[in-house]
Symmetry: C2
Subunit: 333 residues, 2 copies
DNA sequence: TTGTAAGCGTTATCAT
DNA sequence: ATGATAACGCTTACAA
């Protein structure tokens, strides 16, 4: 392995001059630069990033920790973060956490200075873990399960957007609206969206019915399909479904098709996330678009501010993104 | 920032002993270990990975470079690689390449020892870039555009699987089978799958018709939908469609629905990849399952062999994965 | 079982 | 414009 020393020797200069050439420092005479570059190519020199990181204390890379890489939602999120980071000359490295354990692990990884900062999309952690987020390195949390924590935070407009989504179903004539959500044990995505659902019903003077609230333990298409079939089989009376994710909603569309229920004629369905697939599903899926790109942009901005801050810690920001309701075939759009 | 030195001082031992504790070396007296651990928690010590990497010359992390993170196919692939690596106690860090330029960049990144090795899923590079793959660090290429290159290589069973897919359409009674593929400029995924398509037609004594070959410039659902609508509008006579990816095929299902063509009654459709969504699409999509997990496993195995090899370079392996045809509603299954 | 010394490859700082 | 020196924080090899 050839090092800066080897190049320096070959070019007849000091290692420092080679370093200056590598980093495009201005004070290098063109002829010197030439000689160094020539030596670098001749020796097939490659910089050792670990050494540079150690010396600089910076890596130029931010980490993005997501629960699952093979998911339309987190894929979309990652794409947004990468685009936003790229504009700011930062690389992004994605890690899959998959569990609360690993989410906590991811925290210490960045603390370890492998990355300049970390964007953590937390699904497994809850309010109880909030204190673990009090770290002394740049961290931005993307998600909904932790509020008032000691950390910068970009959240979805869960409550308002859900209210709007359910409001849309009501406008379209639904009166018995089911909701598919996760366990609601504490303040999390599902509970916020459930509250939005309840508010929308109340505003329209519709009686809430606990039988209409369906729980799922995962947010994939499989679970949505199963739930829909069960609801139909149980004879439950419903004319609309609001799902906490698009994957769930597409599963519901599939499940309803399996049992011969027509969408949107008999039942209208709306999801949340506006993943790429929803536009092309049959029927195409109405949904809430949470402005992923805006949220990604803000998360990266917050992180960069933290990375570049010197001096006293700033107050922690909590931002909530914007949203819009996208009307498609599944609600008769 | 607290270092090993600080911990050593606080625990009244040498830095080396702290290092031994961190790395679970056996020769540390329990009482000493206790004292060190206590000091570590008290001082909130976090190891500096950059320093460790530099000293060790290893990172314990492999890189995975994919063209696009927000795609069902690459998401599936990434999930497989992560699972395979995890079993071998390796971390995976994902990078989005997006272009041939970045694919070449990714090569030098790993060469730079940020990762112990790199798995490169190359879409933009072609045979002409093969020589660039002659690198002196562990590299495994996943893909189809480079053969006989100076590199370990795990490829899809493109030709055979395509022949089987088209054979399935023929069995189901299709006689005028369209194919959606990318530009076929050199040996790549599309051209291999096209050859499989042609072989299947020939075996069944069906006349090939150039009008049935449709080109797309990207492999997303949008392109599939557009193509399908155009084919239908142009009055082209076809009763089957073979698509080089599932995304494309789901787009075709959507496009055919748009113009009122019934699947599978009037036209049968089959894709390639078996992404999660195909099972739940309406109609569910018949497709080729290329044994992603097996390929991921082998790629990781090859990479580990390279990482751990000392001595003379081995001969380069070229593996081709297995496959199966998954029959679903879109072909009347 | 523990400690000492040297070095991993780079960059910051300060001279020249 | 270029170079000498001292870090950066850890581990390997060897000594005690």
């Amino acid at each position: 392995m050839t090092t800066i020393q080897d190049v320096a020797k070959a070019a007849g200069v000091s290692p420092m001059t080679v370093s200056n050439v590598i980093n495009n420092h201005p004070n290098v005479r063109p002829s010197t630069r030439e000689r160094v570059l020539e030596a670098m190519t001749r020796l097939d020199y490659r910089i050792n990033v670990a050494a540079r990181n150690l010396a600089k204390g910076r890596t130029g890379t931010i980490g993005l920790a997501v629960p699952e890489v093979n998911s339309p939602y987190y894929g979309r999120l990652a794409a947004g973060i990468i685009a936003a980071a790229e504009r700011r000359k930062l690389r992004v490295s994605i890690e899959q956490t998959a569990s609360r354990e690993n989410e906590l692990d991811a925290l210490s990884l960045s603390r370890n200075r492998l990355y300049d900062g970390l964007i953590l999309s937390a699904a497994g952690m809850g309010q109880a873990d909030a204190e673990r987020l009090r770290v002394d390195h740049p961290l931005v949390v993307l998600g909904d399960r932790i509020f008032g924590g000691p950390v910068d935070h970009v959240a979805m407009p869960n409550l308002e957007a859900s209210r709007a989504a359910v409001g849309h179903l009501i406008e379209r004539g639904c009166r018995r609206i089911a909701m598919l959500c996760g366990a609601v044990d504490e303040v999390d995505t599902s509970s916020l969206r459930l509250t939005g659902y309840q508010q929308a019903l109340r505003e329209a003077d519709l009686a809430p019915d606990p039988a209409l609230i369906q729980r799922v333990d995962r947010f994939g298409m499989r679970e949505g399909a199963r739930s829909a079939r069960e609801m139909a089989a149980s004879g439950l009376d419903f004319d609309g479904v609001f799902c906490v994710t698009d994957s769930l909603a597409m599963g519901v569309l599939r499940g309803l098709a399996d049992v011969g229920v027509r969408v949107p004629e008999q039942v209208k369905v709306i999801g949340f996330d506006n993943v790429t697939e929803s536009e092309f599903f049959i029927p195409s899926l109405s949904t809430v678009d949470p402005d992923h790109d805006g949220m990604a942009e803000r998360a990266v901005d917050l992180l960069i501010r933290l990375i570049e801050r010197t001096g006293p810690p700033a107050v922690h920001e909590e931002l909530v993104g914007g949203f819009s309701v996208v009307v498609r075939e599944s609600t008769g759009g």
